[in-house]
């Protein structure tokens, strides 16, 4: 059993493509998830008590079940309910909805962490609700939600590997196929670990830079 | 004259490049109440913490009842750190009361007071709790023994903290702004406990903004400003007019004007 790096070099184009699919799905799923999650969090906060409770149900279900089970339900159960999606759209939708549930909680916590006095001060000055959200809550929230958002992003990247189980042609699928095809199982696992690790470390680093940038806008400790 | 309880000589404390204490010389007389006053940032808390060896001084010496605290001067005249066991032994003569009480939140009042007896001094549980109970009684909190800190008011917490320090029978008690984290109506109960303690002849060093307390209970007042000890004396001398201009300014600026009229 000798490690053979030639296998990796030979399949470099496919590996790059698989990495591309993973990155694209991850970033798209996260972007849609952040948008949807923000919508959910805002609606829950300002939409009245009933709306809050009704929206809590899907959020809690999504957070209380494994991503894999959600994918299976949509991918294999979907066609029986008239929803026949290909692996990529199915993967993207699942990733979006899953991340939206978690991001909505991050934003909800962010809203809650802004001192109520700041909102009251804005109300007294006659700012409208939308103005308060845009001018007061969002800027204050940005720094609060950044670290958990970066953590969540890393978790989502790792969850995206699960999409290989429904044959989405992403990184894990691609590399394990190469591994079987070339009987280079160990090389494949090794390479997979290294690539994911590199992406995670890079994004964590980016997150720290963003955090440092953002915190310079904060004038004083509360 | 007897040996001072605490003797501070040529003490210097630096944080990085900032010098927060400069050439402090101070004798804390035994059985008396010494008060350290001064504006925020004058270094009075740092000085008190150096006396407890919670801060390590940069230069100079402190002795407690004649024994070196933390550092000693070796044969070649160099400052050298004492071994940890020796530091603990000297420090055992000192009790400390903090501004933020610092009660251990996972223990009841009784637990807080008896913990060190049980853990450090290996006193059997029942005896430790009896002794702790006696101290709680002294600060008037025997009926709060089984309450957790979060269930007590600030004043009660501070009284428990005093009881905690007293159970170890210290010879000297240090108070680091013991009432400044309290609501005004709760400071009285703590000051009363401190007054009782002073009446018993406990050696006390108090950092406080309670000028009234310093003036009435204190035997010695030291005024610090910008890291320097400007003067030390009896309250009557210190507060007598004409006052030192910095003290006058301090009394005017940091206290409401009524207080400066009082003293």
């Amino acid at each position: 059993m000798i490690f053979d790096p030639n296998v990796i070099l030979k399949h470099l184009p496919e590996i790059i493509q698989g990495t591309g699919v993973t990155l694209a799905l991850w970033i798209a799923g996260m972007a849609f998830g952040i948008a949807l999650g923000f919508l959910v969090a805002t609606t829950r906060r300002y939409g009245g008590k009933a709306t809050n409770v009704v929206l809590a149900i899907p959020v809690e279900i999504l957070r209380g079940t494994p991503f894999l089970v959600q994918i299976f339900l949509v991918y294999y159960g979907g066609p029986f309910a008239g929803l026949s999606l290909g692996p990529i759209p199915c993967g993207l939708i699942c990733l979006t909805v899953y991340s939206a549930a978690y991001y909505s909680e991050v934003f909800r916590a962010g809203f809650a962490a802004v001192p109520h006095g700041h909102v009251e001060a804005a109300e007294c000055l006659g700012l409208s609700r939308v103005q308060i959200i845009r001018r007061i809550l969002l800027p204050e929230m940005a720094l609060i939600v950044l670290p958990p958002s970066v953590n969540l992003a890393v978790i989502l990247l790792k969850e995206s590997a699960v999409l290989s189980i429904i044959t989405v042609p992403e990184l894990t699928t691609t590399i394990s196929a190469i591994g079987s095809q070339e009987y280079a199982f160990l090389e494949a696992i090794f390479l997979l670990a290294v690539i994911y690790w590199a992406i995670v470390e890079a994004s964590a680093k980016l997150g720290r830079i963003a955090e440092a940038r953002l915190s310079t806008f904060r004038f004083s400790a509360p | 004259m007897t040996l001072p309880a605490i003797n501070v000589k040529k003490l210097v404390k630096r944080f990085g490049t900032a010098t927060v204490l400069q050439d402090i010389d101070l004798e804390v007389p035994e059985g008396k109440v010494s008060c350290l006053i001064g504006p925020s940032g004058s270094g009075k808390s740092t000085l008190l913490r150096c006396m407890a060896f919670l801060e390590e001084s940069s230069e100079g010496m402190i002795t407690v009842n004649g024994e070196a605290l933390g550092f000693f001067e070796n044969a070649r005249g160099e400052r050298e750190r004492l071994p940890a066991a020796q530091i603990r032994a000297v420090r055992s003569q000192i009790g400390m009361v903090f501004q933020q009480f610092n009660l251990w939140p996972h223990m009841t009042a009784l637990g807080n007071v008896s913990e060190a007896l049980k853990t450090v001094h290996k006193v059997p549980k029942t005896e430790a709790e009896d002794r702790a109970m006696a101290q709680l009684k002294k600060v008037g909190l025997e009926n709060r023994a089984n309450h957790y800190p979060s269930q007590l008011s600030g004043g009660q917490q501070q009284r428990v903290a005093i009881a905690r320090a007293l159970t170890l029978s210290p010879k000297i008690m240090l108070f680091d702004e013991p009432t400044s984290a309290l609501d005004p109506e709760l400071t009285g109960e703590v000051l009363n406990v401190m007054r009782d303690l002073a009446a018993e002849g406990m050696t006390m060093v108090v950092v406080s903004h309670e000028i009234g307390f310093a003036a009435t209970v204190g035997n010695q007042i030291s005024f610090l400003d910008q890291g320097r000890l400007l003067f030390t004396g009896a309250p009557a001398d210190v507060f007598a007019k004409p006052r030192h201009p910095r003290l006058e300014q301090f009394l005017d600026t940091y206290l409401d004007r009524g207080a400066s009229m009082l003293v």
């Binding site: 000798i2 490690f3 294999y76 026949s84 394990s176 009987y183 160990l186 | -």
Partner: protein, 274 residues
């Protein structure tokens, strides 16, 4: 250029360390007999060889290995993995032999040692009932499912290359997933070995149909062992048990039970057609 060399060296060095520790010689048959259990790796989504029937592991493999166990005087311990993990598991020593079964191919013979063939493995098409496929060539341009890392995939890829328009090949972790997707309508056909698809067509009566003739070359299924000397005695013993079962008719009976027919299989495949 220098960069590649460095990359190779670095990766190689990292793995060499682990490789150097793995060499240890021990006769596997003796070990199995001493332990009293034969560990068999497989995937449980390959009906009728290995599948889950109402929560129970069932199939030809289960019956065959029960007999092999009797012959060797050991109990059988099953380890079920996704197919992609089965051969790596064998190489990592997670089990002594792989049931599967796997198609005996040239490429695999280079790396593994196969037992006596247990069934025919020639690949054919299973289509969704009513799909416009009447002969194998009709799958040109259509979406066809197949298992990942299988010989069936390799044969389908080869067949696809001979067609005027290529087949839209979809790879699945297990053939079961491919059948499920065909039922869901995402693909119109699945390429798998005849015994498998005949069984599935019968199970899902009417929903799926077998398209004859098979497009693949004539191939056979066997169980898989490793080629190293330690495992030789074990695979020999399994071969002997299988040959004994062929001779006394037990094999034919089990084939009848699971396929509704018996296969005329050779005693060994030295030079596979594929």
């Amino acid at each position: 250029m220098k960069k590649t060399t460095f990359l190779k060296a670095a990766l190689g060095a990292a793995m060499l360390f682990s490789a150097s520790l793995s060499a240890h010689a021990e006769d596997v048959l003796a070990k199995v007999k001493a332990a009293g259990t034969l560990k068999v790796g497989t995937e449980t989504a390959f009906a009728p060889f290995d599948y889950i029937d109402a929560g129970e592991h069932a199939g030809l493999n289960v019956d065959l290995f029960a007999e092999i166990g009797k012959e060797l005087g050991v109990k059988i311990e099953w380890v079920a993995l996704p197919w992609e993990g089965v051969l790596p598991g064998l190489e990592a020593g997670k089990f002594d032999v792989v049931a599967g079964p796997a198609t005996i191919t040239k490429a695999r013979l280079e790396r593994y040692r196969f037992t006596v063939p247990i069934a025919e493995a020639t690949v054919a098409i299973l289509k969704k009932a009513g799909a416009p496929i009447s002969k194998p060539e009709d799958i040109a341009g259509k979406a066809v499912g197949v298992g990942k890392a299988t010989a069936q995939l390799a044969q389908l890829t080869e067949f696809s290359a001979t067609l005027p328009t290529k087949v839209d090949i979809r790879e699945y972790p297990a053939f079961n997933d491919a059948y499920a997707d065909m039922a869901a309508g995402r693909i119109v056909a699945v390429a798998n070995s005849l015994p498998n698809i005949a069984f599935v067509a019968k199970q899902r009566n009417g929903a799926f149909e077998v398209v004859l003739p098979p497009f693949g070359k004539k191939t056979y299924f066997g169980f898989i062992g490793t080629k190293d000397a330690d495992h030789a005695s074990l695979v020999d013993a399994i071969d002997a048990a299988l040959l004994k079962m062929k001779a006394d008719g037990r094999m034919a009976k089990l084939q009848e039970k699971w396929f509704g027919q018996k296969f005329d299989t050779p005693d060994a495949v030295k030079d596979p057609a594929f």
